[in-house]
């Protein structure tokens, strides 16, 4: 419909997306954007159009870019099971409780699972440590930092 070669259209799209992503990434002001594209020698009407395009889409582009950063696996869900080992091939008449955990993690859209097993006393210790970690948020040091970040 545009009567130009495929390559030209492709280069045009690539150029436009590069312009928009770089501008959004650096969060440049209107004036800087206008000065930058002025160098390209387009008509004023086109410059205005590009500026409007940039301003309208900048927030959305930034939110998409923020999701591209490498992320550590994040928590999705936890399944658990409590078992008691009563006997094994080598020893009968046992009572050995064990907690089996399956930790479901999300990393960049992939789901992985880690299976862990622990005895009740280690589990209690784990809970204690995690509660201590949560408690850290309430200390004065953390409160001061959170207040200054807002």
């Amino acid at each position: 419909k545009l009567n130009i070669g495929v390559d030209t259209v492709q280069h045009g799209v690539e150029g436009l997306s590069y312009l928009l992503t770089e501008s959004s990434k650096l969060m440049i002001s209107e004036i800087d954007f206008q000065e930058s594209i002025h160098v390209l020698g387009f008509s004023d009407e086109l410059n205005q159009l590009l500026l409007q395009l940039y301003l309208d889409n900048r927030k959305e582009i930034r939110s998409i870019l923020s999701e591209l950063a490498p992320k550590l696996p994040s928590y999705h869900s936890l399944e658990w099971r409590l078992d008691v080992q009563l006997a094994s091939r080598s020893l009968r008449q046992q009572i050995k409780p064990a907690v089996t955990l399956k930790l479901h993690l999300n990393q960049n859209g992939d789901q992985t699972a880690q299976v862990l097993q622990t005895d009740p006393s280690t589990l209690l210790h784990l809970i204690q440590q995690l509660e201590q970690a949560l408690g850290e948020m309430k200390t004065n040091h953390c409160r001061r930092i959170v207040r200054n970040m807002k």
């Binding site: 399944e79 658990w80 099971r81 009563l86 006997a87 091939r89 009968r92 089996t100 399956k102 299976v115």
Partner: protein, 198 residues
């Protein structure tokens, strides 16, 4: 403290959605419960039916989803903690659900309580399961090492499925007659122990 929440406080979002449930008529609520129970039991949920049932109450799409979520929570949590339907009814009324709504909900719950609990038991964490066992007994006549072997040999293949959605994996092995006898004896001992617990 509520028994259906596992003797813990009722979550805030559940409390908030109880008022949404009260907007629906108690008859329609019982029908929506039936649909939610179908979903919890692993059958397909008919979302269009739920939309039709909630259209009278003029709920927004967010409210419809919230209704399904809160009913799912109440029904599965009550089954998880083995709460009987009268206790569930009185606890829901304490939270502000009108009496007819609570009794309708609890009647649906009572009908399906044991199937729900069976389903939850089946969904519990399992690491791997044995699908099937195939076997074959061969008789080795001779080999490159020894001209006359004349020994029986058992081929066993265990088909194991890893986790809920894992693909079944085959674990093949061969055993001599003596090794196989030892395996069988040990497994029989384990089976006797399991039978004493049933």
């Amino acid at each position: 403290r509520f028994r259906f929440c596992g003797d813990l406080d009722c979550p805030d979002w559940v409390l908030a959605e109880i008022s949404t449930l009260a907007k629906i008529s108690s008859v329609k609520l019982k029908l929506i419960c039936a649909q939610v129970l179908r979903d919890l039991l692993g059958e397909a949920i008919e979302y269009e039916k739920i939309l039709k049932l909630t259209s009278d109450a003029k709920l927004e799409s967010g409210d419809v989803k919230a209704t399904i979520a809160v009913l799912s929570f109440i029904l599965s949590s009550a089954a998880k903690h083995n709460v009987d339907s009268e206790s569930l009814s009185s606890e829901l009324q304490q939270l502000g659900l009108p009496k007819e709504h609570a009794s309708g909900l609890c009647r649906s719950y009572e009908e399906k309580q044991s199937s729900l609990q069976d389903r939850l038991k089946a969904c519990s964490l399992r690491l791997s399961r044995l699908g099937s066992v195939c076997w074959r007994v061969d008789y080795t006549l001779s080999s490159s090492e020894l001209r006359e072997v004349n020994e029986p040999l058992v081929h066993l293949t265990f088909n194991v499925q890893n986790g809920e959605h894992g693909r079944p994996a085959a674990v093949p092995m061969t055993l001599s007659a003596d090794k196989f006898r030892v395996l069988l004896a040990e497994l029989k001992q384990a089976q006797t122990l399991m039978n004493t617990l049933l």
